[in-house]
Symmetry: C2
Subunit: 142 residues, 2 copies
């Protein structure tokens, strides 16, 4: 095993096995669900391309592919709200991955802990969680 | 409120508010994460179109859109492994939904309780969960 292998979160040869099990879509992307590893809270869904999967497995720090910015998106690169990989799961047919992570701070750009804060309540689509931190505070160093 | 409204799991007017908050993609679909409501287990990811969302909210029984069969897919229609809706969450930008469900039996067509049973272990992509029921038993009435 080379020095590079020894330092990788997941060894490169294993990462390639993971990659070969993933069926990327016509745009080269796969949906990735991020779940807090210890509480089970579903934090967010984002997308990964092959490079994002490879970087995430190599570094142990979650990297997505931003469809709006059309580039790799190292979660927390502007907000500081990083995600650290605990486990990486591939589903039965390889077209979704589940990331078990340790979320530093909040996952949602609105300052909420997770992105799924709207639900039907009392006849309307209500906000069922409040921001923990203001978006201004999240991105003032961005 | 009409009789139809009274019998709906989520009232039609509320369902329309939910629908208007969802940003369906170019194919008219949105990814839907199914999570077991009480344990937090992420069961699967599938896709919904507008009709699937409307039917799910109306009946309380989860209905997806099958991309391979190009039609509505009432989860469990052949296997009996139905999903009953407990809550329906829309994410911050409306491009993912999270279904809190009560899973009857197993979620995965392989007979496993959830679809995310492959993970890197000891240098390979390993199966970390075994089938609870055989696929033959799941689909013999299908």
């Amino acid at each position: 095993m080379s020095d590079t292998d020894a330092q990788a979160f997941i060894a490169p040869a294993t990462a390639e096995m993971v990659l070969s099990a993933i069926c990327f879509d016509a745009n080269g992307l796969v949906p990735a669900i991020a779940q807090q590893h210890d509480t089970g809270e579903v934090l967010m869904l984002a997308w990964m391309n092959e490079d994002a999967v490879r970087e995430t497995l190599s570094t142990g720090r979650v990297c997505y592919f931003s469809r709006s910015r059309n580039r790799l998106w190292r979660k927390g690169e502007t907000s500081g709200q990083t995600q650290h990989l605990k486990d990486f799961r591939v589903d039965c047919d390889g077209d979704t991955v589940l990331l078990l992570v340790d979320q530093n701070g909040v996952a949602c750009h609105t300052g909420r802990h997770n992105c799924f804060f709207r639900a039907p309540r009392d006849g309307v689509l209500a906000e069922i969680a409040a921001p923990v931190v203001s978006p201004e505070d999240l991105y003032r160093h961005g």
